[in-house]
Symmetry: C2
Subunit: 252 residues, 2 copies
Amino acid sequence: MKPAARLYVEAPLAPGATIPLSEGQAHYLRSVLRLEPGRRVLLFNGREGEWLADLTELRKSGAAATTVSQRRPQAPEPDLWLLFAPIKGDRVDYVAEKATELGASRLQPVMTRHTVVGRVNIERLRARAVEAAEQCERLSVPEVAAPRPLREVLEAWPAGRRLFACAEAGPARPFAEALAQAPRDAPSGLLVGPEGGFSPDELDLLRELAFVTPVGLGPRLLRADTAAIAALALWQALAGDGDRRPPPRFEN
Amino acid sequence: MKPAARLYVEAPLAPGATIPLSEGQAHYLRSVLRLEPGRRVLLFNGREGEWLADLTELRKSGAAATTVSQRRPQAPEPDLWLLFAPIKGDRVDYVAEKATELGASRLQPVMTRHTVVGRVNIERLRARAVEAAEQCERLSVPEVAAPRPLREVLEAWPAGRRLFACAEAGPARPFAEALAQAPRDAPSGLLVGPEGGFSPDELDLLRELAFVTPVGLGPRLLRADTAAIAALALWQALAGDGDRRPPPRFEN
């Protein structure tokens, strides 16, 4: 039986466990999908894989599902951070959605000199990431970190993690070429600047840091959201899990 | 002097030519950017490169600019078609914008068995493509073709053009691997299905056609818009112009 929904939960997943669902999830299952108790759903929590479960309770104030069997064990996922200067309106939500689909493990908003958006609604980005993870069959939800100044993030950069900085101006290697020489599956970060680009002193700083590789994404000036999506897709294809396939579909 | 705007025009561009601008462009220059006659702009028409020009007329009903000098000659661009099943709402506009930024030469909406959107507003997609071409410094605007049934497009497929079909189910080669063996700069097409995927008979048809390579984009189920953007970015990086750089910026 094809599951009627796929939900991210916080609770531990184990055989025969009864998992509480939130008020929001109960509303979605009852009022949007119009499900009844007894329907099959999928649950994942980022730690214990993905489980088939049956809806056992479905009330206005909440719901619950009882696990039936594990469909997929938890599997390691690429360790890929996306650092991005917040952009306006819907576009930042779109970045959160696409970064989740493209397998980022962490979304880190960074404030740069030309960042024009002062406030980031982290809770909204998290909600969008959860929704995208549920849709795309990921076994985890990326962490959405609180915004920090770019310099601070660079100063605290962990040893052993490379940072590919998308640079429209100045010298940069084609990203595909840089990735061809990078080790596969190594902890990495991608940095995408604001619509106005990095400032000259930010570019100088980035070029000085040994863990940074400035990379180019071709001859067209990409919007910040496009650059983020393109860079994520390239990293996954050339250094991540692009050679893997989605899980088999359920028969109807 | 940094140009105040970059505009796509239809008229031939030549030294000292006076180029009529549309009512919409006049409104944008006057009321949105609040420019005055005498200001410098950039013009391109997809045939004769990019030109510096001075605004010579700026009225409610229209405007005109006179070319000063050519900034960049017309250059060949990748010959890359994007075939996509129309999707709902803003997402199809987003695909038009991103495909333009990522250098598609032609956008071809295709109707498949699981396509749920019956009508495509081609004029709106064209307007979005023009806007994106103006922003991203392209020298051309992609053609936006009228929607056609997938089968018809496949039956009329031109000799010598490979089609990479993004397939979530069934056998497929990792797209990066398929591209590594494809000739660079060869006429190509990318096919992205609707949110419900291709039907089994469509998948069978695609696998039978010698010019089609079914390709995979990793283990997560991508939304149709994400798949289109990821595929375009990969093609440009590995078989297109991803090793080129944007033109130098204007000094302020």
